[in-house]
């Protein structure tokens, strides 16, 4: 059984959940584990449900999909509650936050929000008001867990967000942003471009327009050095485009990408979507993007690297070439983020940590792997 074979089954399942009906038991076990590792169990539940396929899945698959559907439903309720609390608190000092990424999808109720798993809530406020916003939240049981002076300086000087805040009782994590990429990268766009066409939800909360939300997701993925959740992010883009991809959406997305300087990232996203999930990018979009974009889409990074690094990072589908692609992305992400001398220093530290991990075990070298929320007390059993 080749790696590509299971990955092919996985992507087909996302594109057309009805293909799951004829899968054998062995395939389902592999796919359930791949979906679990990619945080996509809840997502497939909803896709299969909408496609009318869920009831025809074997009981084994139904049970695992249903289980994470329950979990994600609960998280969605939590996200709505947290967002309205944050909005009310910030509104009381005259700041109206815009909810980004997962929280934004859930508040809007877009298809890609169904079954979603969250690690935090992201909100955008004006740069000059970010510390006022932080202070206001501290009056409402949010706190900033202590970090080192170096990190504090790093955030204040270079970053597009302040250190994550945490709710004292509910343990929700909030990232307050004033931009979508760190100013140190030299690529932070005029944030007002993204704020055009903000959408007010029925609860009166603000979220980005579908093209702006899509662009943010693209920028987040393709300027990042870490593709661990890349496959999930790609499925996000796929579902956003499927749901919103009419003429005005594409016009908005193309224009926004150009104005903010992220056209190349858009091309990489479209090329990857086409290659990995066979998303039918409209010809008119390619025409609009022009010849250089076509070339970029056929180039080394788009064809050989991104598409490979975007498979789930699981040995079942991740072979030597995928590993290499992941390493290249890691280097590229850092390359773009930092000036060269800083980069060399940073990577030597990281390489040292890698060696350290190999010698002494990685639990001694890095933070424990992320576990699903609300399970921190489980080991009392």
């Amino acid at each position: 059984m080749t790696l590509q074979y299971r990955f092919g089954q996985l992507t087909r399942l996302i594109r057309d959940p009805r293909t799951g009906v004829s899968l054998d038991e062995r395939a389902w076990v592999d796919l359930i584990h791949l979906l679990r590792a990619s945080d996509l169990l809840g997502c497939l539940y909803h896709l299969a449900d909408i496609a009318g396929a869920f009831e025809h899945y074997p009981s084994y698959a139904r049970r695992h999909l249903q289980s994470m559907r329950v979990y994600s439903d609960r998280q969605a309720r939590q996200v709505r509650l947290e967002c309205s609390e944050i909005d009310a608190q910030l509104s009381s000092v005259g700041i109206k936050p815009v909810f980004l990424k997962g929280a934004g999808y859930t508040l809007r109720g877009s298809r890609n929000s169904r079954g979603r798993i969250y690690t935090d809530i992201d909100a955008l406020v004006p740069r000059e008001e970010i510390y006022k916003a932080q202070a206001a939240l501290k009056h409402d049981a949010w706190y900033s867990p202590p970090i080192t002076d170096y990190d504090e300086r790093y955030y204040r000087k270079w970053a597009h967000e302040i250190p994550p805040m945490k709710h004292l009782f509910r343990r929700t994590v909030l990232d307050l942003h004033h931009n979508i990429v760190p100013p140190i990268s030299g690529r932070a766009p005029n944030i007002n471009s993204l704020l055009e066409g903000l959408v007010t939800t029925t609860e009166g909360l603000l979220v980005l327009s579908p093209p702006a939300a899509t662009l943010h997701s693209i920028v987040h993925l393709f300027t990042n050095e870490d593709f661990t959740k890349g496959f999930r992010d790609l499925v996000d883009l796929y579902l956003l485009m499927e749901e919103y991809g009419d003429k005005s959406y594409w016009q908005g997305l193309l224009s926004l990408a150009k104005r903010t300087g992220f056209s190349n990232e858009l091309v990489y996203a479209l090329a990857s979507l086409k290659q990995v999930l066979e998303y039918p990018v409209p010809d008119s979009v390619w025409a609009e993007l022009g010849d250089s974009a076509r070339k970029l889409a056929q180039g080394f990074w788009a064809k050989q690297v991104f598409s490979r690094a975007l498979s789930p990072h699981h040995p079942m589908v991740c072979g030597a070439s995928e590993q290499l692609a992941i390493q290249l992305i890691y280097l590229r992400g850092h390359w773009m983020k930092m000036p060269v001398p800083v980069l060399i220093g940073h990577l030597s530290v990281k390489a040292g940590m890698g060696l350290w991990a190999k010698l002494f075990g990685k639990q001694h070298a890095e933070r424990p792997l992320a576990v699903p929320n609300d399970t921190t007390d489980i080991d009392r059993a």
């Binding site: 584990h33 679990r36 609960r74 990072h313 699981h314 080991d379 059993a381």
Partner: protein
């Protein structure tokens, strides 16, 4: 590859150090091949991550697929960390049933659940009852169907801690027990096989008729108090791993459990006295 069918879940152990095979075979070795045939709910491993540690005081890490929820432990704790890891898988990923941190014992088609804080003597009590006419459905987790309200038997060993290890070994010298793992986060532990597969296969999902909150106290006379409904409800909620995630169905089920069962808090020193009370109250 070693496979464990706990009744409700199938675990495939993809990788493990050879020395763990001995306790595994002792505890799970009587499962027939046909019981291990189904699709695996969780693929787990025990690995030695560190190169140095492979030779020097080796440490073992539990993995659920690619995820390592716990810190590495000493070699002697490998089997215990595997057991706790399997519990973690269930608690972290199953929201289709209500899962309460409790022991479950059954007699004559009537099940009792014993939710209790660590140190309350729950395991010692269950070990005693399990060898005195009750069937041990579970030592750690009551897995209750959200619709039928029935609790499922689980094919897993019980986890004895500290003094109760020698106590139970004294009562049942022939029982199958793993070697003691010293200095775990719960102190010294050993796992005790409380059911053979034949017996396990004869058990079925069973309605819950009682909730008992045990509290061991040295030299105490048996004291049985009927619990207030609101207190039972509160306790069951706080002992349920997934109450706040399952939400409404969990609320409804705990409500039904509270209304439809008898519930007691029991302070005891003499286990035989507790058994006497339970048989009288719930046995028939």
């Amino acid at each position: 590859m070693f496979v464990i069918n706990s009744g409700e879940f199938l675990f495939e152990i993809q990788h493990l150090p050879a020395f763990v095979l001995r306790p595994l075979r002792a505890i799970y070795g009587d499962q027939p091949p046909e019981a291990l045939d189904g699709p695996a709910d969780f693929r787990v491993s025990l690995r030695c991550d560190s190169l140095v540690r492979r030779f020097l005081r080796p440490q073992i890490t539990f993995y659920s697929d690619r995820q390592a929820p716990f810190k590495p432990v000493a070699r002697s704790q490998a089997f215990a960390t595997l057991e706790w890891g399997m519990n973690w898988c269930v608690a972290a990923y199953d929201y289709t049933r209500l899962i309460i941190h409790a022991a479950v014992l059954e007699k004559n088609g009537r099940a009792l659940i014993f939710p209790a804080a660590p140190g309350s003597g729950k395991s010692t009590l269950s070990a005693y009852l399990a060898f005195n006419g009750w069937n041990l459905f579970s030592d750690e987790m009551a897995i209750i169907d959200l619709t039928t309200g029935k609790v499922a038997p689980v094919f897993r060993p019980m986890c004895l801690k500290n003094e109760s290890i020698e106590l139970v070994r004294g009562w049942y010298p022939n029982a199958v027990m793993t070697q003691i793992a010293h200095d775990t986060q719960k102190g010294d532990v050993a796992h005790l096989k409380a059911l053979d597969w034949q017996k396990f296969k004869s058990l079925h999902k069973t309605p819950v008729v009682g909730v008992v909150f045990p509290q061991f106290r040295a030299n105490a006379a048996l004291t049985v108090k009927k619990m207030q409904q609101i207190e039972t409800f509160r306790q069951l909620c706080s002992h349920a791993f997934n109450y706040n995630i399952v939400g409404r169905p969990a609320f409804d089920l705990i409500g039904r459990l509270t209304l439809d069962t008898d519930h007691y808090s029991v302070t005891y020193c003499d286990l035989a006295e507790v058994n006497g009370f339970l048989v009288e109250e719930f046995g028939e």
